[in-house]
Amino acid sequence: MNRVYVHGWGAVSPAGWGCGSLVDALNAGVALTTTPTAGPNGAMLPGRRVPTPTPRPAWMAQARLRRSSLISQFTVGAVLEALAQAEAGPAGPIERARLGVVFNVFGGSVIYSRRFFEEVLVNPAQASPLLFPETVFNAPASHLAAVLGSRAPNHTLVSDQSGFLQGLSVAADWLADGNLEACVVVGAEEWDWSVAVAARLFDRASTLGEGAGALVLRRAPGPVELQGLSDPVPYVRATTRRSAAGKVRDQLQLAFPTARFPELRATAVLGDGLAATGAWECAAAVAGVAAGGSAHQGPSALVITGATLQAQGVCFARSGPA
């Protein structure tokens, strides 16, 4: 069988640690306060930053995470929340040897990368060996696997805001192949002035956010079903972002005529979280579908329009009888 269910969801965002604060912020629809941070040559750059967690979670004291980057901490935080929920449900605990990981980034570990390259420019012979390993794209996914004790396949995918949906597709395929019991899909990003400067070259009003969002997928029936993922529509030939988003929406409407398209406005409220944006929107949509209660009980569909590569869409629905 080809059905895949969402059993857990988690988020770390400028609204706080936990999916509840993410959903509350999106429901309120009010842009969160920005924090100005000093950039190069005296420039002050706004960002929507993740608040320091209080109390500090015990897992942050683990040896693998002691020197890890913020993006790794956001990743682990979102996944542990999602996993706790997934394992508390009727499907029960997940065998770690059969728990896959798909990690999605756009910028990745940009703070350590910037710090390391600053040291290289001063004197490469004295650049810190502690920083470099954390600059690698898959370092957060590696830390996550170590925390989870997962030796199963673990992919880090580099894309844009739409990458989280690509991650869902990879995870769904892994589950369909039957080798895994469950898979966590996470999208994460951390704020750094180097990325903020770059983003402003394309949009002078850009304000970046940071954080992570995660879903736990299983084949066993769960509260929310992943009903469908559209084909991605890349921005090539004459396809613009706008036309790509339209094609994706058309695909979803054709396949799921009763789906509604909730206006989540994650970027406006939380800042552009790059790879985290798609993850936040999916986590919030899944939470909304699972909670039900609104007038609309049908599927919820999202179109995620990436900044650089492609648009893609997803549809979630509350599970019916298994």
Binding site: V120, A125, L157, D173, F202, V236
Partner: protein, 420 residues
């Protein structure tokens, strides 16, 4: 719709390679590389793409790029903007595309839905470095900065490749450190085996960059002498750059259009080593898992492997762990399985390594030879398997290639010679 996917075929389609393009420090293209790997030529020399004067070593495997690129759908300005990594990728992709005959439009519509799966560790890092230097320089012009940021990003390289070869489809970039290329090829195989696609363009690429070079040097992982994987006196790796791209197809699709078959990918295994961020499990536990998984999918035993292309970086820790894993995997048959690491000749190509080494296995299978490591000296006594140390003719049916990366990303692929 990408999901739900169509029901999996009762019998998974066989995955064949109909085109392969390769760019390494040995040169551009199949012919020069095949001859270089067959004879064990070394192409490690002084770094010129950035100043390595203040590093512990100044040696790496650098590609001499041609002054002009092959004619593609890219305009002159688009070509001029391409980053070094994108040029490596384009050269390899064009060779594979033409070898496969994919440049002939058969009207099948596949060009609008051709998945692209690539491995890379740093995409256009050189452009990112230039962007950063200009950003921190007071009073520097912002002219060209948006282009640098664009070219730094992997998605731009996918779009450029789609423009160049006139196709469209999902683009997946796997950044699993040094296993990226092997994971990309493996993932592409899964797309075909699951019945999702008939054709996939897959490979890996990475260019030398100052940040990454300094990073490996900071870890004291770079050799100060010469890179000698599995030598008793090995002292580190050499970095390199390059790309390899393959056109993968279902056997049915390839045969239906009368394509020439270069080989078959029959096994893929992936696992995660959680021992340490940068050090492998000392007994090679995850490496053993991937080799076993790849052979299991291929339906073969270690005794069937006629050549093993090792990850073999030349660092004391990697080669020791990999040697133990090979010993455990092969058991009593270890002394009958020839092993070498082609990184001795071209350096470690990081995100390109797994794809390049897949193509090397393809060359060796088709040409009936084993790639040697020359001037190795005394072999580490932990190796219970023979290291190929001289150009050797050998007729064999299966090759296995290993790729192990930072963060514990491990992957193995098994290739089968296509009978002529």
């Amino acid at each position: 719709m990408l999901f739900p996917r169509p029901p999996s075929p009762v019998c998974a389609p066989r995955v064949v390679i109909t085109g392969a393009g390769i760019v390494t420090p040995l040169g551009v293209g199949w012919t020069v590389n095949a001859e270089g790997f067959r004879t064990g030529r070394r192409a490690i020399g002084p770094v010129s793409v950035f100043s390595a004067a203040r590093q512990r070593t100044q040696q790496a495997g650098e590609v001499v790029l041609p002054t002009t690129l092959p004619a593609t759908g890219l305009g002159t300005r688009q070509e001029q903007r391409l980053d070094r990594a994108a040029r490596l990728l384009l050269l390899a992709a064009v060779e594979a595309w033409q070898q496969a005959g994919w440049h002939h439009d058969d009207g099948g519509g596949w060009r609008s839905h051709l998945p692209l799966v690539l491995g890379t560790t740093s995409a256009g890092m050189g452009q990112g470095e230039d962007f950063f230097r200009r950003t921190i320089r007071a009073g520097a012009s912002r002219r060209g900065q948006a282009t640098r940021i664009g070219q730094y990003q992997a998605p731009q390289q996918a779009r450029d490749l789609m423009h160049a070869l006139d196709f469209s489809g999902s683009a997946t970039f796997i950044a699993n450190a040094c296993a990226s290329g092997a994971n990309a090829v493996g993932h592409a195989c899964e797309l075909i085996r699951s019945g999702r696609s008939q054709r996939v363009l897959a490979g890996g690429y990475d260019a030398l960059s100052e940040l990454v070079f300094a990073g490996f040097d900071s870890l004291q992982a770079l050799s100060l002498t010469s890179c000698r994987p599995f030598a008793a006196k090995r002292d580190g790796l050499a970095l390199g750059e390059g790309a390899a791209v393959m056109t993968l197809e279902s056997l049915e699709s390839a045969q239906a259009r009368g394509a020439t078959l270069l080989g078959e990918i029959v096994g893929y295994g992936a696992a995660t080593d959680v021992h340490h961020l940068t050090q492998p499990h000392p007994q090679g536990d995850a490496a053993l898992l991937t080799m076993n998984a790849a052979c299991r999918q291929a339906g073969i035993q270690p005794a069937d492997i006629g050549y093993l292309n090792a990850h073999g970086t030349g660092t004391p820790l990697n080669d020791g762990a990999e040697a133990l894993a090979i010993n455990r995997w092969a058991g009593e048959l270890a002394d009958r399985i020839p092993v070498s690491s082609t990184k001795a000749g071209i350096g470690h190509l990081l995100g390109a390594a797994g794809a390049v080494e897949t193509v090397i296995c393809l060359m060796a299978l088709g040409g009936a030879w084993l790639p040697p490591e020359l001037e190795l000296g005394e072999v580490d006594p932990v190796c219970r398997f023979p290291i190929v140390q001289a150009p050797t003719d050998a007729d064999f049916e299966y090759a296995l290639t290993n790729s192990f990366g930072f963060g514990g990303a491990n992957a193995s692929l098994v290739l089968r010679r296509w009978p002529t």
